[in-house]
Amino acid sequence: MTVVQEQVDIVPVRAKGRRRSRNGLGARLAWGGAIAAILAFLYLPIAVLVLFSFNSGRLLSWPIQGFTLDWYRKLASNEQLIEAAWNSLYVATCSTALTLIIGVPAALALDRLSFPGKGLFRKLVLLPIALPGIITGISMLTLFRLMGANLSLTTVIIGHATALLAVVVTQVYARLQRLPRSYEEASADLGASGLQTFFFVTLPNIRTAVIGSGLLSFTLSFDEIPVTFFLTGRDNTLPMYIWSTMRRGLTPEINAVGALIVLASAVLVVLSVLLLRDKPGGRA
């Protein structure tokens, strides 16, 4: 009797299964379409930018007239632009280093120490990320004026570092929270000093968060305008330079700069993937 029942049961299950797989195909097509649309939404503008950087005509109109590397050649001889690019690199590198030097210990303090006002400290550290860049820029400008400091790339670096600190602190803090306390206890138990524990045990385990937030800080700093606008002196950064030339109209030269920045970003992304890649099996 049980056998009969089983046979009866199997038939409807199979039928249901087949119907579901047909639905699955439709659903998969729909999902594929949606994903393509999202990707187009995200990357079509960039594709257009790169395409027009090779356009031999001066006008931004379809179809493209011909292929040329002229705009890139022009770039290479534009001293103002190259100087701005170097400035941007310098600012992004220094502000990233500064945020990491302040941010990693701050995250450690937030996670490992308990002190009065810790909750408030955490909120205050994270606040600047929610503040509009304009507010950060104006308030720091006011402060530097009061202190009688001259505006320069150094003031820009300090401005960027304050705005980006929250990025590093949140990422590193989140990673530390997932790191079992027993690792550090075991290290101390095995005779390691505080510094040894940090460099041999803690840092290797939060390394991906440090590198990731560092790269994010770097790119955010590299294309930052509002804070830079208020805090820079005579020196220009790349986004500032692009923005100022835009007032004279959109040139194919700008497209070429844009394309180069896209390329640099892609290199950074690949680099970060390579750096952050775990050994097979991943971490515990």
Binding site: P180, D189, A192, P204, G281
Partner: protein, 354 residues
């Protein structure tokens, strides 16, 4: 030798460990046993240096280590989650404690290999921790802790993460390792059978205090109070009163040592269910009642017997004969015969601590 004197840990208002005095002889395997929240882990962590005592002192071989940080104590710990460093190979994990104290790389690697050899994992030195099974990780944690030749090895619930089969195997391994290295082991567990199986001495804790410390067999046969009797092994409790003729309970009188408990006052008594006899029908000098229910356990059957207004348990070994002769049936009249030496007394009847 480890000596704890008046060791106390308060977390705000809560008392975690309450004025514990304890001496652990060199080379002993001592277990801190108790339910969760009894303070046994806090006590262990204070010995390791991870918690600062509120009061009291800890000394190891006559040296006061109360104020020393963990990295300067001659003590190593096996953590409950093993805490193997996930970014280091097994070999480097074990060599870590030697490396940070300045030993040359090749020498540290050789020592690590020796320690791994002791736990039977010499061939896995190159593996990463995540490639090991739970039992292997446990052994690596052991090797890492003994490689520095500490005076004391602390084990925080070392077997709780393993499944039942592996646990017994590791119990044997731990005993063997203890014999091999001759270190003092202090283990924390909430598992009474584990404590009985492995320790030279068991320290039973409750609410931050030491209730009893004794060798396993002594603890089992002469529990200090009803709490220990109920926590370590199984005890069948009943209330009665000592009279001149014996122990009177449920309106029946059985033979008992004269000095078992003060005469003429109701008190709590008990026995181990496997140390008594169950006879059919009414037998003189026993507690007669009716079988209530049987729980079959493969190697034994626990028989619950209603005696007067109480319910007592008797464990019967299941041998071939018992299985064929038939076990007692529900409602059958039976008598529990308790050898006088197996009776345990636990103070006034009002004490319902267990």
């Amino acid at each position: 030798m480890i000596e704890l004197t008046g060791l106390t840990k308060r977390f705000g208002e809560v008392v975690g460990v309450d004025c514990v005095d304890l001496r652990v002889e060199e080379g002993a395997f001592v277990t801190l046993l108790g339910p969760s929240g009894c303070g046994k882990s806090t006590l262990l962590r204070m010995i390791g240096g991870f918690e600062e005592p509120t009061e009291g002192t800890i000394s190891i071989d006559g040296r006061d280590v109360t104020d020393l940080p963990p990295n300067r104590r001659p003590v190593n710990m096996v953590f409950q989650d093993y805490a193997l460093f996930p970014h280091m190979s097994v070999g480097r994990n074990v060599a870590y404690g030697l490396k940070v104290s300045g030993m040359a790389r090749s020498e540290a690697a050789a020592e690590a290999r020796k320690a791994l050899d002791m736990v039977g994992l010499a061939d896995r030195a190159e593996a990463m921790p995540h490639q090991l099974s739970g039992g292997q990780r446990q052994r690596v944690a052991l090797a890492r802790a003994i490689v520095r030749h500490p005076k004391v090895l602390l084990l925080d619930e070392p077997l709780s993460a393993l499944d039942a089969n592996l646990r017994e195997q590791m119990q044997v391994e731990l005993r063997r390792l203890h014999r091999l290295v001759g270190l003092t082991f202090i283990m924390v567990t909430h598992d009474q059978s584990e404590a009985l199986a492995m320790s030279d001495r068991i320290v039973v804790m409750r609410d931050g205090r030491v209730v009893q410390q004794a060798a396993p067999s002594e603890l089992y046969d002469k529990p200090a109070d009803a709490y220990v009797a109920g926590f370590v092994g199984t005890t069948s409790f009943f209330e009665g009163e000592m009279t001149r003729t014996g122990l009177r309970a449920f309106g029946q009188t059985i033979r008992a040592p004269k000095d078992l408990a003060p005469h003429g006052r109701p008190a709590r008594f008990g026995y181990r269910p496997e140390k008594v006899e169950l006879r059919q029908g009414h037998v003189a000098d026993g507690l007669t009642g009716h079988v209530d229910e049987l729980l079959y356990r493969g190697d034994a059957v626990r028989v619950f017997v209603n005696v007067g207004d109480g319910r007592l348990a008797v464990d019967l070994q299941v041998t071939d004969r018992a299985a064929t002769d038939g076990l007692p049936r529900p409602d059958e009249a039976v008598t529990i015969v308790i050898p006088p030496a197996r009776l345990m007394a636990f103070g006034p009847a009002a004490d319902k601590a267990a």
